[in-house]
C-alpha cells in the first residue's frame, strides 16, 4: 500500500524518491495499492508533473487524471526520464536551462549541477532503468528546487568498483555518501571532482542539498555543514534534492 491520503504538499525530491521507489519495485514485479492524496491540489500537481504517466499507472487512471491537468508557469511540468546516453548530461541541462528562463534562477550553477548529476547517472548508475529529473520554482519563497534520482546500484556498490574503496562494503550508507562527497573519491580512479563541485555550487548559492542512497542520506546546508542520517527506508540507487535561492537583486 502506498498511502498518500494525508499528503498536503510534495517537493520535487519527494516526488522523485517516490517515483524511484515505484519504478524499482514495479520492475521487480511488485504491484501497488495506491491511496491518492485527499488534497485536490496535490492530486492536480502530480498530474501536472505527469507523475502518473511517468511511473506507469494504468492507462485509464492516467487519462482520468490528465483531464484536469494544467500547465504551471513555475514548473518543468514534467518529470524527465533520463536515459543512459553519453550526451544526456548536456541535453537535460539544455532543456532545463531553456525552461528555467521563466524563473529568476542562476542559469550557470544550475546547468553545471544538472549536467554533473545526469552525467554521474549515465556513468555510474549501473542500471538500464531510466533515472528521472525535475524542478519546481517556489516564487513565494524565492527558491528553485531540483531533484534527480535513479534506482541503480547506489553509492556504496559503485564505489567498491575502485579497489581503493573496496573497504566501504560494510559501512553504513550515510558514511559512504559522506566519503563520496570528497574530492577524488569515485569508482573510477582519477575522477571524483563533479560531486564536490556540485556541493560547492550549492554552498556558494546558499542552497541546501540532500543526497540519499540505500538506507542513508546526507543533508548539506548553506554553511557547508553536513549531517549524515537515515532515510527510514531502503531504496537502491541515488536520489538527490537541491534547493537554490534566487540570487540577491
Amino acid at each position: 500500500m502506498v498511502d498518500l491520503s494525508s499528503v498536503t504538499f510534495i517537493t520535487p525530491f519527494a516526488m522523485v524518491y517516490l517515483g524511484m521507489f515505484l519504478r524499482y519495485h514495479s520492475h521487480r514485479g511488485c504491484a501497488f495499492h495506491w491511496r491518492e492524496p485527499e488534497d485536490e491540489k496535490v492530486r492536480s500537481y502530480l498530474a501536472s508533473m505527469r507523475f502518473y504517466e511517468r511511473f506507469r499507472f494504468e492507462p485509464s487512471f492516467v487519462l482520468e487524471r490528465q483531464a484536469g491537468r494544467s500547465e504551471l508557469s513555475t514548473s518543468l511540468n514534467n518529470i524527465l526520464d533520463v536515459r543512459k546516453d553519453p550526451d544526456s548530461g548536456d541535453e537535460v541541462a539544455r532543456q532545463a536551462a531553456d525552461a528555467l528562463q521563466r524563473v529568476p534562477a542562476r542559469p550557470g550553477p544550475v546547468a553545471y549541477i544538472i549536467s554533473e548529476l545526469v552525467d554521474n547517472f549515465v556513468q555510474h548508475s549501473g542500471t538500464e532503468l531510466p533515472g528521472t529529473f525535475t524542478w519546481q520554482w517556489f516564487p513565494q519563497r524565492g527558491v528553485l528546487s531540483l531533484a534527480l534520482g535513479d534506482c541503480g546500484l547506489g553509492i556504496r556498490t559503485t564505489l567498491q568498483r575502485n579497489e581503493d574503496f573496496a573497504h566501504v562494503g560494510d559501512w553504513p550508507d550515510e558514511k559512504t555518501i559522506s566519503l563520496a562527497l570528497e574530492q577524488r573519491v569515485s569508482c573510477q580512479p582519477g575522477h571524483g571532482m563533479g560531486l564536490t563541485e556540485t556541493v560547492e555550487h550549492v554552498i556558494e548559492a546558499r542552497g541546501r542539498l540532500i543526497i540519499a542512497s540505500g538506507s542513508g542520506r546526507v543533508i548539506i546546508d548553506q554553511g557547508g555543514r553536513m549531517a549524515p542520517g537515515k532515510t527510514g527506508n531502503e531504496l537502491p540507487g541515488v536520489q538527490i534534492g537541491i534547493q537554490l535561492p534566487a540570487p540577491a537583486e
Binding site: 517537493t11 546547468a111 562527497l181 574530492q183 560547492e200 554552498i203 549531517a227 549524515p228 542520517g229
Partner: protein
C-alpha cells in the same frame, strides 16, 4: 599555436567532451607552444578541466600549454585542478606566463543529524 576552447568542443561540461577536445587539439598539434583560450566558453566545469589537464599530461602536451583565462570562476577551477592533480599549470597574466597556484577543496563540517529534513527538501 593559439586555439579557443570553443574550437575544440561545443560544450565544456563533461569528461567525455574534454576527451573530444583533447583529441581535436592533439590532431592540430604542430609541436610548438600551445595557448588555449578558455574565456569564450559559456560553461566549463571542474570535471571538464580536470579531464582536459589529465589528457594533456598523458599525451605529453601539458608542459607546452598556457591557459589564457581571465574569468575568475575558470581561474579558480584551474587552481582546483592544479591542487587535485598536483601538476604544474600555467596561465597568461598580461604578457607573462605564470604558474597557477593551487587551491584546495572546501571542507565540509560534519554535524549531528537534524532528523526530519523538513518540507524544504
Amino acid at each position: 599555436m593559439h586555439v579557443r576552447i570553443t574550437e575544440l568542443t561545443s560544450r565544456g561540461l563533461t569528461r567525455r567532451r574534454a576527451q573530444q577536445a583533447y583529441s581535436e587539439l592533439a590532431a592540430r598539434d604542430d609541436g610548438t607552444d600551445i595557448t588555449i583560450r578558455l574565456d569564450d566558453a559559456e560553461l566549463l566545469s571542474l570535471s571538464f578541466l580536470d579531464e582536459l589537464v589529465a589528457k594533456l599530461a598523458e599525451g605529453g602536451l601539458l608542459p607546452r600549454v598556457t591557459f589564457a583565462v581571465d574569468r575568475p570562476d575558470y581561474v579558480n577551477r584551474l587552481r582546483r585542478v592544479r591542487d587535485a592533480r598536483d601538476v604544474e599549470l600555467f596561465r597568461n597574466e598580461g604578457d607573462q606566463r605564470r604558474p597557477v597556484s593551487p587551491k584546495s577543496a572546501p571542507k565540509l563540517i560534519e554535524v549531528q543529524d537534524p532528523g526530519d529534513p523538513g518540507d524544504e527538501l
